[in-house]
Symmetry: C2
Subunit: 209 residues, 2 copies
């Protein structure tokens, strides 16, 4: 198995961190998005959606979408469980994972991709170019602040985002908080529970994977 990856992008980082938490070693194939290598014919043959990450199996099958890749790896390597431990816990993990993605990661991505010079004309990842929408960048910033407040409230009563155990929801949330640094929106003392969690999760060895 090979993971097509770009170190600086948030979604592949979710998969690398997931692999590190599981202790899975895998071949990494860098795709340099800063050089638009995802548009090269050789990569488009692997993933026509022109995005990373992509998991390539030894028989040539390809899986894209970070969470689909993580779920597949969870089935092959169930321990430690990162999608929950029983039916209810798995549902709660899914709920929080989606809140983090829809209210956090999406908001930060709206902010970054619609404002930074690098994404000019490329406001959406994928095969088709879209112009930036400045009002969407501003909305992304506002929603990022709301997201941090929501997590702060949840983490005041819970050690991790989805409860008592470290899960994919924590991975998505850490990646979101670090991605928000591009917007100069760092986790600070105004959200003390989020800060406590952020410092702890940032110290995990997987955080630098």
């Amino acid at each position: 198995m090979k993971l097509h990856d770009f170190t600086m992008a948030p979604n592949p980082r979710r998969v690398r961190m997931f692999l590190a938490e599981k202790g899975i070693e895998i071949t990494i194939v860098p795709v340099d998005l800063s050089q638009h290598e995802q548009m090269n014919d050789s990569y488009v043959a692997i993933n026509p959606r022109r995005a990373v990450p992509a998991l390539e199996l030894d028989d040539g099958r390809v899986l894209t979408e970070s969470v689909a890749i993580c779920r597949y790896l969870e089935e092959l390597h169930p321990d430690p469980p990162l999608f929950g431990r029983d039916a209810w816990d798995r549902a709660v993990v899914e709920m929080w994972h989606r809140r983090v993605e829809l209210e956090g990661l999406q908001a930060v991505a709206d902010g970054v991709r619609n404002s930074s010079e690098f994404f000019k004309g490329r406001a959406i990842a994928g095969p088709v170019d879209f112009e930036q929408i400045p009002a969407l960048a501003e909305r992304g910033r506002q929603r990022t602040a709301l997201f941090k407040a929501m997590l702060d409230e949840q983490l005041a009563d819970n050690e991790f985002v989805a409860g008592a155990h470290f899960t994919v929801a924590d991975i998505a949330a850490l990646v979101t908080c670090d991605f928000a640094k591009v917007l100069k929106m760092r986790v600070g003392d105004d959200t003390p529970a989020l800060k406590r969690w952020y410092d702890a999760v940032s110290r995990r060895p997987s955080a630098t994977a």
Copy 2:
């Protein structure tokens, strides 16, 4: 178990259709979003995110996020499997489900919520109001057209969205195609494979749930 529901909204429809495919009967509690009942104190006590659907268990626990609810129901009622049949199939279903959500449902929602009179000042579901962004509505329409072309290509070679079996990805895709009628973007003969699938899936008894 009770499902807090609003008939006309796309996300609760995903859960109702899932329940119908499984043959699960459940108490439905209507929350009239057209009257902003999701903002009433009694509903906010159930779901502080002020959105439907929400699944309320007999012991008072509440689960939100449509897909979290469906995953929980899949664990309680595994047959017929709607999230895939083995590790690889489940990963492929997840991949296509996410493509439908991120490239389809999100695009249509951007188009509808940022243009229709009803959503003025309410461009994002949830506790905080956001103004509409007309450029985002237009981008949503463009992405909806791309989404339909992507599905048409996939359905030229596959009976269902994620392959040989009907799954949650088909539910999300049907709901997305019907939601796009609000944008007057109907499935037509310009996407023949999508049309073949759309007509077939629309005839399932669950489609009117």
